[in-house]
């Protein structure tokens, strides 16, 4: 199961990389977002994928899931969310300001 997940992470990261390398600003934002999510998947896999109940007191179960990766990705998702929001606003501002979302045309010339 872990191996499958790692392969999935690999596929997702390749998709993200492909999108980041494209010219459209929105695609780059989406690519960055996909990379972020695949990394979260990797973190949850790193704790081992177990069938177990939630790691809470009072749950009478044979096994418990590892709580730390869950706590980590909760934080990572929130941070990813905030960063994506900032990037979206900035990209929108850039689009309005330059009138284009083509990164090729956003390339700076030296003495501006």
């Amino acid at each position: 199961m872990e191996t499958l997940m790692v392969i999935l992470v690999g596929i997702l990261i390749s998709i993200g990389t492909y999108l980041i390398l494209s010219k459209q600003l929105l695609r780059i934002v989406l690519g960055a977002s996909i990379v972020g999510h695949s990394v979260n998947l990797l973190i949850i896999t790193s704790g081992g994928l177990k069938r177990g109940s939630a790691p809470l007191l009072g749950e009478k179960a044979a096994g418990f899931a590892d709580a730390i990766p869950q706590a980590l990705i909760l934080t990572a998702i929130v941070i990813n969310f905030a960063v994506t929001a900032v990037v979206l606003v900035l990209s929108y501002r850039a689009y309005k300001s330059f009138g284009t979302d083509d990164m090729e045309q956003l390339r700076g010339n030296e003495n501006e």
């Binding site: 939630a54 809470l56 009072g58 909760l74 929130v78 969310f81 905030a82 929001a85 606003v89 929108y92």
Partner: protein, 140 residues
């Protein structure tokens, strides 16, 4: 262009109440079971965002007169404040405590300082999430 959003508006009227109630349930549930300030706050902000979507920014702003930036700041202040309480009593930062009290209606209830911390978290999450959506939607 005027769109026909009767269905959206009528559903929102009912759904917003349900989501808000559920978010409070999630929030209170969080002390011993899955839930908590973060998730409660997030679902509450989804209700507010739903209101914004269906009734428009201006109308909601008239009725909910809260500056969400300040709400987020106050939330963080509350959360840090509970953390600081431990420092005053000579314990490490963020130490939490709880006790059992006899309250008039609820009977013997457990009150924990983590609840106040969670309130702060919930306020911060609501403030931030709504604020993000609002600032993206503001077309300047």
């Amino acid at each position: 262009m005027k769109t026909n959003d009767v269905i959206l508006k009528s559903v929102t009227r009912v759904a917003a109440v349900i989501i808000l109630t559920f978010s409070i349930y999630l929030f209170m549930n969080g002390h011993h079971h899955p839930g908590g300030g973060f998730i409660g706050g997030l679902s509450m902000s989804s209700a507010i965002v739903l209101l914004y979507l269906s009734f428009g920014v201006d109308k909601v702003r008239e009725n909910i007169r809260v500056d969400f930036k300040k709400l987020a700041a106050i939330g963080v202040l509350i959360a840090i404040g509970t953390g600081m309480a431990g420092v005053i009593f000579g314990k490490p930062f963020l130490t939490q405590t709880f006790g059992y009290y006899d309250l008039p209606i609820f009977g013997n209830t457990e009150l924990a300082s983590a609840l106040i911390f969670d309130t702060g978290v919930a306020l911060a999450v609501i403030g931030t999430a709504v604020n993000i959506i609002l600032s993206i939607s503001e077309d300047r």
